[in-house]
Protein backbone atom coordinates (compact mmCIF):
# COMPACT_ATOMS: atom_id res chain seq x y z
CA UNK A 1 0.00 0.00 0.00
CA UNK A 2 1.47 3.34 -0.89
CA UNK A 3 0.01 6.79 -0.92
CA UNK A 4 0.94 10.39 -0.83
CA UNK A 5 -0.97 13.20 0.77
CA UNK A 6 0.87 15.62 -1.44
CA UNK A 7 1.97 15.66 -5.03
CA UNK A 8 5.64 16.23 -4.45
CA UNK A 9 7.77 15.24 -1.55
CA UNK A 10 8.42 18.19 0.64
CA UNK A 11 11.56 18.67 2.66
CA UNK A 12 11.80 17.66 6.28
CA UNK A 13 9.03 18.85 8.53
CA UNK A 14 9.16 22.10 10.39
CA UNK A 15 7.20 20.72 13.31
CA UNK A 16 8.86 22.53 16.15
CA UNK A 17 5.71 23.44 18.04
CA UNK A 18 3.01 21.00 19.04
CA UNK A 19 0.58 19.89 16.41
CA UNK A 20 -3.08 20.15 17.26
CA UNK A 21 -4.15 16.81 15.78
CA UNK A 22 -2.65 13.74 17.43
CA UNK A 23 -3.10 10.18 16.18
CA UNK A 24 -2.47 6.91 17.97
CA UNK A 25 -2.17 3.99 15.58
CA UNK A 26 -0.75 0.50 15.45
CA UNK A 27 -1.59 -3.18 15.32
CA UNK A 28 -4.72 -4.47 17.00
CA UNK A 29 -4.41 -5.13 20.72
CA UNK A 30 -1.22 -3.16 21.39
CA UNK A 31 -2.97 -0.61 23.60
CA UNK A 32 -3.79 2.33 21.32
CA UNK A 33 -7.01 3.09 23.16
CA UNK A 34 -5.32 3.11 26.56
CA UNK A 35 -2.49 5.38 25.48
CA UNK A 36 -4.77 7.74 23.53
CA UNK A 37 -7.06 8.10 26.55
CA UNK A 38 -4.08 8.66 28.86
CA UNK A 39 -2.60 11.27 26.54
CA UNK A 40 -5.93 13.09 26.14
CA UNK A 41 -6.31 13.17 29.95
CA UNK A 42 -2.82 14.60 30.24
CA UNK A 43 -3.58 17.40 27.77
CA UNK A 44 -6.83 18.18 29.57
CA UNK A 45 -5.05 18.35 32.90
CA UNK A 46 -2.60 20.82 31.39
CA UNK A 47 -5.56 23.04 30.63
CA UNK A 48 -6.04 22.30 26.92
CA UNK A 49 -9.60 21.66 25.89
CA UNK A 50 -9.25 18.20 24.39
CA UNK A 51 -11.50 15.94 22.34
CA UNK A 52 -10.73 12.22 22.31
CA UNK A 53 -12.10 10.57 19.18
CA UNK A 54 -12.45 6.84 18.61
CA UNK A 55 -12.59 6.01 14.89
CA UNK A 56 -12.44 2.24 15.38
CA UNK A 57 -15.85 0.76 14.53
CA UNK A 58 -15.23 -1.68 17.41
CA UNK A 59 -15.14 1.03 20.07
CA UNK A 60 -13.64 0.42 23.49
CA UNK A 61 -13.12 4.00 24.65
CA UNK A 62 -16.36 3.84 26.66
CA UNK A 63 -14.98 0.83 28.51
CA UNK A 64 -11.72 2.50 29.38
CA UNK A 65 -13.24 5.81 30.49
CA UNK A 66 -15.98 4.03 32.39
CA UNK A 67 -18.59 6.25 30.80
CA UNK A 68 -21.07 5.51 28.04
CA UNK A 69 -20.10 7.55 24.98
CA UNK A 70 -22.05 8.26 21.82
CA UNK A 71 -21.65 9.62 18.31
CA UNK A 72 -21.72 13.16 19.70
CA UNK A 73 -18.99 14.55 21.99
CA UNK A 74 -19.69 13.89 25.67
CA UNK A 75 -18.05 15.76 28.53
CA UNK A 76 -15.87 13.39 30.55
CA UNK A 77 -14.24 15.81 32.94
CA UNK A 78 -12.72 19.22 33.12
CA UNK A 79 -11.48 20.11 29.60
CA UNK A 80 -11.97 16.55 28.42
CA UNK A 81 -14.53 15.39 25.88
CA UNK A 82 -14.86 12.10 24.05
CA UNK A 83 -16.78 10.75 21.07
CA UNK A 84 -17.11 7.34 19.47
CA UNK A 85 -17.91 7.94 15.82
CA UNK A 86 -21.14 6.13 14.97
CA UNK A 87 -20.84 5.83 11.21
CA UNK A 88 -24.09 3.89 10.72
CA UNK A 89 -26.11 6.50 12.62
CA UNK A 90 -24.38 9.37 10.79
CA UNK A 91 -25.08 7.78 7.40
CA UNK A 92 -28.70 7.20 8.29
CA UNK A 93 -29.14 10.82 9.42
CA UNK A 94 -27.50 12.15 6.25
CA UNK A 95 -29.65 10.00 3.99
CA UNK A 96 -32.85 10.85 5.86
CA UNK A 97 -32.05 14.53 5.32
CA UNK A 98 -31.66 13.93 1.57
CA UNK A 99 -35.00 12.13 1.62
CA UNK A 100 -36.67 15.16 3.18
CA UNK A 101 -35.07 17.46 0.60
CA UNK A 102 -36.29 15.17 -2.20
CA UNK A 103 -39.88 15.74 -1.17
CA UNK A 104 -39.54 19.38 -2.30
CA UNK A 105 -37.43 18.97 -5.39
CA UNK A 106 -38.55 15.72 -6.98
CA UNK A 107 -41.77 15.13 -8.91
CA UNK A 108 -44.33 12.78 -7.32
CA UNK A 109 -43.87 10.27 -10.17
CA UNK A 110 -40.24 9.51 -9.33
CA UNK A 111 -40.41 10.20 -5.58
CA UNK A 112 -41.23 6.63 -4.45
CA UNK A 113 -38.31 5.24 -6.48
CA UNK A 114 -36.02 7.96 -5.20
CA UNK A 115 -36.92 7.15 -1.61
CA UNK A 116 -36.37 3.47 -2.18
CA UNK A 117 -33.01 4.11 -3.79
CA UNK A 118 -31.93 6.35 -0.92
CA UNK A 119 -33.00 3.78 1.63
CA UNK A 120 -30.95 1.15 -0.16
CA UNK A 121 -27.91 3.43 -0.21
CA UNK A 122 -27.71 3.09 3.57
CA UNK A 123 -26.41 -0.43 3.14
CA UNK A 124 -24.06 0.22 0.20
CA UNK A 125 -20.59 -1.28 0.75
CA UNK A 126 -18.80 2.07 1.02
CA UNK A 127 -21.41 3.95 2.99
CA UNK A 128 -20.07 3.47 6.51
CA UNK A 129 -16.51 4.26 5.58
CA UNK A 130 -17.65 7.42 3.81
CA UNK A 131 -19.78 8.48 6.78
CA UNK A 132 -16.89 7.83 9.15
CA UNK A 133 -14.63 9.94 7.01
CA UNK A 134 -17.22 12.70 6.77
CA UNK A 135 -17.41 12.93 10.56
CA UNK A 136 -13.62 12.73 10.80
CA UNK A 137 -13.32 15.77 8.52
CA UNK A 138 -15.96 17.68 10.52
CA UNK A 139 -14.19 16.96 13.81
CA UNK A 140 -10.88 18.19 12.41
CA UNK A 141 -12.60 21.45 11.54
CA UNK A 142 -13.64 21.92 15.21
CA UNK A 143 -10.01 22.41 16.21
CA UNK A 144 -8.83 25.07 16.78
CA UNK A 145 -12.02 26.77 17.84
CA UNK A 146 -14.22 24.46 19.86
CA UNK A 147 -11.23 22.35 20.98
CA UNK A 148 -7.55 23.11 21.44
CA UNK A 149 -6.46 19.57 20.68
CA UNK A 150 -8.01 16.48 19.11
CA UNK A 151 -6.64 13.03 19.93
CA UNK A 152 -7.60 10.24 17.53
CA UNK A 153 -7.67 6.69 18.76
CA UNK A 154 -7.67 4.84 15.48
CA UNK A 155 -8.53 1.38 14.24
CA UNK A 156 -5.72 -1.05 13.37
CA UNK A 157 -3.18 0.22 10.88
CA UNK A 158 -4.71 -0.55 7.49
CA UNK A 159 -7.95 1.18 8.34
CA UNK A 160 -6.13 4.27 9.59
CA UNK A 161 -3.87 4.58 6.58
CA UNK A 162 -6.99 4.51 4.46
CA UNK A 163 -8.49 7.33 6.51
CA UNK A 164 -5.37 9.39 5.90
CA UNK A 165 -5.28 8.68 2.16
CA UNK A 166 -8.88 9.61 1.55
CA UNK A 167 -8.58 13.43 1.58
CA UNK A 168 -6.13 13.42 -1.31
CA UNK A 169 -8.14 10.87 -3.28
CA UNK A 170 -11.49 12.56 -2.72
CA UNK A 171 -10.10 16.04 -3.36
CA UNK A 172 -8.98 14.94 -6.79
CA UNK A 173 -12.38 13.44 -7.62
CA UNK A 174 -14.38 16.40 -6.38
CA UNK A 175 -12.00 18.81 -8.10
CA UNK A 176 -12.84 17.10 -11.40
CA UNK A 177 -16.56 17.40 -10.69
CA UNK A 178 -16.30 21.08 -9.77
CA UNK A 179 -14.44 21.83 -13.01
CA UNK A 180 -16.96 19.90 -15.04
CA UNK A 181 -19.88 21.66 -13.38
CA UNK A 182 -18.23 25.03 -13.95
CA UNK A 183 -17.81 24.18 -17.60
CA UNK A 184 -21.47 23.20 -17.95
CA UNK A 185 -22.65 26.25 -16.00
CA UNK A 186 -20.50 28.54 -18.15
CA UNK A 187 -22.03 27.16 -21.34
CA UNK A 188 -25.52 27.39 -19.98
CA UNK A 189 -24.91 30.99 -19.01
CA UNK A 190 -23.66 31.76 -22.49
CA UNK A 191 -26.75 30.17 -24.03
CA UNK A 192 -29.01 32.15 -21.74
CA UNK A 193 -27.23 35.38 -22.63
CA UNK A 194 -27.68 34.60 -26.32
CA UNK A 195 -31.37 34.18 -25.69
CA UNK A 196 -31.34 37.51 -23.91
CA UNK A 197 -32.19 35.98 -20.52
CA UNK A 198 -30.40 36.94 -17.39
CA UNK A 199 -29.40 34.36 -14.85
CA UNK A 200 -29.40 35.84 -11.38
CA UNK A 201 -29.88 32.68 -9.30
CA UNK A 202 -26.83 30.77 -8.07
CA UNK A 203 -25.95 27.17 -8.72
CA UNK A 204 -26.78 24.96 -5.72
CA UNK A 205 -24.94 21.99 -7.23
CA UNK A 206 -21.78 23.99 -7.66
CA UNK A 207 -22.13 25.40 -4.15
CA UNK A 208 -22.34 21.93 -2.66
CA UNK A 209 -19.48 20.56 -4.71
CA UNK A 210 -17.31 23.51 -3.72
CA UNK A 211 -18.18 23.04 -0.07
CA UNK A 212 -17.11 19.40 -0.30
CA UNK A 213 -13.94 20.40 -2.06
CA UNK A 214 -13.17 22.93 0.63
CA UNK A 215 -13.65 20.38 3.41
CA UNK A 216 -11.45 17.75 1.76
CA UNK A 217 -8.73 20.30 1.01
CA UNK A 218 -8.84 21.50 4.59
CA UNK A 219 -8.51 17.97 5.98
CA UNK A 220 -5.66 17.19 3.64
CA UNK A 221 -3.82 20.34 4.63
CA UNK A 222 -4.28 19.73 8.35
CA UNK A 223 -3.08 16.11 8.09
CA UNK A 224 0.13 17.36 6.54
CA UNK A 225 0.77 20.50 8.52
CA UNK A 226 -0.88 20.09 11.91
CA UNK A 227 -0.69 16.37 12.72
CA UNK A 228 1.52 14.19 14.86
CA UNK A 229 1.25 10.42 14.59
CA UNK A 230 2.27 8.13 17.44
CA UNK A 231 2.82 4.53 16.46
CA UNK A 232 2.04 2.15 19.30
CA UNK A 233 3.61 -1.31 19.46
CA UNK A 234 4.56 -3.94 21.99
CA UNK A 235 7.95 -5.65 22.10
CA UNK A 236 6.89 -8.67 20.03
CA UNK A 237 7.64 -9.91 16.52
CA UNK A 238 4.40 -9.18 14.64
CA UNK A 239 3.86 -5.63 15.94
CA UNK A 240 7.50 -4.79 15.16
CA UNK A 241 7.07 -5.90 11.56
CA UNK A 242 3.80 -4.03 11.14
CA UNK A 243 5.30 -0.88 12.67
CA UNK A 244 8.10 -1.01 10.16
CA UNK A 245 5.65 -1.15 7.26
CA UNK A 246 3.39 1.55 8.67
CA UNK A 247 6.34 3.88 9.32
CA UNK A 248 7.39 3.66 5.72
CA UNK A 249 3.90 4.35 4.40
CA UNK A 250 3.29 7.25 6.76
CA UNK A 251 6.61 8.99 6.14
CA UNK A 252 6.21 8.48 2.38
CA UNK A 253 2.83 10.15 2.70
CA UNK A 254 4.32 13.14 4.50
CA UNK A 255 2.78 12.43 7.91
CA UNK A 256 4.87 13.61 10.86
CA UNK A 257 5.78 10.76 13.24
CA UNK A 258 5.98 11.89 16.86
CA UNK A 259 7.48 8.76 18.43
CA UNK A 260 7.14 5.01 18.66
CA UNK A 261 5.42 4.14 21.91
CA UNK A 262 6.49 0.72 23.12
CA UNK A 263 3.72 -0.47 25.37
CA UNK A 264 3.56 -3.31 27.93
CA UNK A 265 7.23 -3.36 28.72
CA UNK A 266 7.85 -5.61 31.71
CA UNK A 267 8.85 -3.50 34.70
CA UNK A 268 12.19 -3.80 36.34
CA UNK A 269 11.03 -5.27 39.66
CA UNK A 270 11.74 -8.51 41.51
CA UNK A 271 10.41 -11.20 39.15
CA UNK A 272 8.67 -13.12 41.89
CA UNK A 273 6.60 -10.11 42.99
CA UNK A 274 5.65 -9.16 39.46
CA UNK A 275 4.66 -12.66 38.43
CA UNK A 276 2.69 -13.19 41.59
CA UNK A 277 0.70 -9.99 41.02
CA UNK A 278 0.05 -10.83 37.36
CA UNK A 279 -1.03 -14.37 38.22
CA UNK A 280 -3.36 -13.05 40.88
CA UNK A 281 -5.04 -10.71 38.43
CA UNK A 282 -5.17 -13.44 35.80
CA UNK A 283 -7.01 -15.85 38.05
CA UNK A 284 -9.58 -13.13 38.81
CA UNK A 285 -10.19 -12.61 35.11
CA UNK A 286 -10.29 -16.33 34.32
CA UNK A 287 -12.94 -16.72 36.96
CA UNK A 288 -14.89 -13.80 35.48
CA UNK A 289 -14.72 -15.34 32.01
CA UNK A 290 -16.08 -18.64 33.37
CA UNK A 291 -18.93 -16.84 35.12
CA UNK A 292 -19.91 -14.42 32.38
CA UNK A 293 -19.92 -16.69 29.37
CA UNK A 294 -21.68 -19.63 30.92
CA UNK A 295 -23.46 -20.67 27.71
CA UNK A 296 -20.20 -21.30 25.95
CA UNK A 297 -17.34 -23.68 26.35
CA UNK A 298 -14.04 -21.96 27.15
CA UNK A 299 -10.61 -23.23 26.31
CA UNK A 300 -7.39 -21.94 27.84
CA UNK A 301 -4.30 -21.67 25.66
CA UNK A 302 -1.09 -21.19 27.57
CA UNK A 303 1.28 -18.42 26.58
CA UNK A 304 4.67 -19.40 25.27
CA UNK A 305 7.63 -17.88 27.11
CA UNK A 306 8.89 -16.90 23.66
CA UNK A 307 7.00 -15.10 20.93
CA UNK A 308 5.18 -17.29 18.47
CA UNK A 309 7.25 -17.00 15.30
CA UNK A 310 7.97 -20.58 14.26
CA UNK A 311 5.93 -23.42 12.80
CA UNK A 312 6.95 -25.56 15.77
CA UNK A 313 5.34 -23.16 18.21
CA UNK A 314 2.22 -23.10 16.06
CA UNK A 315 2.17 -26.90 16.26
CA UNK A 316 2.32 -26.81 20.03
CA UNK A 317 -0.60 -24.37 20.10
CA UNK A 318 -2.42 -26.57 17.60
CA UNK A 319 -1.94 -29.48 20.01
CA UNK A 320 -3.72 -27.50 22.72
CA UNK A 321 -6.59 -26.77 20.35
CA UNK A 322 -6.77 -30.44 19.44
CA UNK A 323 -6.87 -31.35 23.11
CA UNK A 324 -9.84 -29.01 23.45
CA UNK A 325 -11.56 -30.98 20.71
CA UNK A 326 -12.11 -28.01 18.37
CA UNK A 327 -13.35 -28.86 14.92
Amino acid sequence: MSFSLENHHHEDHRHDGENRLVFFGGKGGVGKTTLAAAFASLLAEKGQKTLLVSTDPAHSTSDILGKKLSGEPTEIGSNLFAVEIDAAADASEYIEKIKRESKDSVSPEVLPTVEKHLEMSKSNPGTEESALFDRFVDLIALCPGTYDRVVFDTAPTGHTLRLLTLPALLSAWVEGMVRQREKVAGMERMLKNLAGRDDPEGDPVLDRLRERRHKFHHARHRLLEDTTFYLVLIPERLPIEETDRALKTLTDGGVHIGALLVNRVLPNMPEGDFMRARLEQQSEYLEEIENRFTNHRTTLIEQDARDVTSRNQLRSIAAQLEGANLR
Binding site: I98, V110, L118, V184, M187, V205, L209
Partner: protein, 86 residues
Protein backbone atom coordinates in the same frame (compact mmCIF):
# COMPACT_ATOMS: atom_id res chain seq x y z
CA UNK B 1 -30.71 56.81 -46.82
CA UNK B 2 -33.56 55.03 -45.04
CA UNK B 3 -33.39 52.22 -47.55
CA UNK B 4 -29.75 51.75 -46.95
CA UNK B 5 -30.25 51.54 -43.17
CA UNK B 6 -33.12 49.06 -43.53
CA UNK B 7 -31.09 46.93 -45.90
CA UNK B 8 -28.21 46.96 -43.46
CA UNK B 9 -30.48 45.98 -40.58
CA UNK B 10 -31.94 43.13 -42.64
CA UNK B 11 -28.48 41.92 -43.54
CA UNK B 12 -27.40 42.03 -39.96
CA UNK B 13 -30.45 40.12 -38.82
CA UNK B 14 -29.82 37.48 -41.43
CA UNK B 15 -26.22 37.31 -40.39
CA UNK B 16 -27.17 36.85 -36.76
CA UNK B 17 -29.78 34.21 -37.48
CA UNK B 18 -27.59 32.30 -39.85
CA UNK B 19 -24.25 32.30 -38.08
CA UNK B 20 -25.28 32.82 -34.49
CA UNK B 21 -28.02 30.23 -34.84
CA UNK B 22 -25.55 27.64 -36.01
CA UNK B 23 -23.14 28.62 -33.30
CA UNK B 24 -25.89 28.42 -30.69
CA UNK B 25 -26.93 24.96 -31.89
CA UNK B 26 -23.33 23.82 -31.67
CA UNK B 27 -22.97 25.29 -28.21
CA UNK B 28 -26.21 23.66 -27.12
CA UNK B 29 -24.97 20.29 -28.29
CA UNK B 30 -21.65 20.72 -26.55
CA UNK B 31 -23.38 21.84 -23.33
CA UNK B 32 -25.52 18.68 -23.41
CA UNK B 33 -22.41 16.57 -23.98
CA UNK B 34 -20.59 18.15 -21.04
CA UNK B 35 -23.67 17.76 -18.88
CA UNK B 36 -23.69 14.05 -19.75
CA UNK B 37 -20.06 13.80 -18.68
CA UNK B 38 -20.85 15.47 -15.37
CA UNK B 39 -23.79 13.14 -14.83
CA UNK B 40 -21.52 10.15 -15.39
CA UNK B 41 -18.97 11.51 -12.91
CA UNK B 42 -21.59 12.08 -10.25
CA UNK B 43 -23.39 8.78 -10.59
CA UNK B 44 -20.75 6.33 -11.79
CA UNK B 45 -21.82 3.96 -9.04
CA UNK B 46 -25.24 3.63 -10.64
CA UNK B 47 -23.44 2.59 -13.82
CA UNK B 48 -21.76 -0.14 -11.80
CA UNK B 49 -18.40 1.62 -11.55
CA UNK B 50 -17.10 1.99 -7.99
CA UNK B 51 -16.67 5.63 -7.07
CA UNK B 52 -15.21 6.80 -3.75
CA UNK B 53 -17.31 9.97 -3.81
CA UNK B 54 -20.70 8.37 -4.40
CA UNK B 55 -21.75 8.88 -0.77
CA UNK B 56 -20.95 12.57 -0.98
CA UNK B 57 -22.65 13.13 -4.32
CA UNK B 58 -25.76 11.37 -3.05
CA UNK B 59 -26.97 14.75 -1.73
CA UNK B 60 -27.05 15.95 -5.36
CA UNK B 61 -29.14 13.01 -6.48
CA UNK B 62 -32.59 14.57 -5.86
CA UNK B 63 -31.38 17.59 -7.83
CA UNK B 64 -30.44 15.41 -10.79
CA UNK B 65 -32.81 12.48 -10.79
CA UNK B 66 -35.28 13.89 -13.33
CA UNK B 67 -32.45 14.94 -15.60
CA UNK B 68 -30.87 11.53 -15.05
CA UNK B 69 -34.03 9.86 -16.25
CA UNK B 70 -33.97 11.97 -19.42
CA UNK B 71 -30.29 11.23 -19.77
CA UNK B 72 -30.47 7.46 -19.84
CA UNK B 73 -33.38 7.64 -22.24
CA UNK B 74 -31.16 9.81 -24.46
CA UNK B 75 -28.38 7.23 -24.05
CA UNK B 76 -30.76 4.68 -25.51
CA UNK B 77 -31.67 2.81 -22.32
CA UNK B 78 -35.40 2.54 -21.72
CA UNK B 79 -34.99 1.35 -18.16
CA UNK B 80 -32.14 1.91 -15.82
CA UNK B 81 -30.80 0.14 -12.73
CA UNK B 82 -34.16 -0.72 -11.20
CA UNK B 83 -34.67 1.61 -8.29
CA UNK B 84 -32.55 4.56 -9.38
CA UNK B 85 -35.18 6.56 -11.18
CA UNK B 86 -37.65 4.26 -12.94
Amino acid sequence: MRHIIEAYQKAEEFNREFFMGRWRAGLQKEAARQEDALMAMLFLEALGIPNPTSYYTLELYPEFVEEFHQWHMRMGMDTFEPGFCC
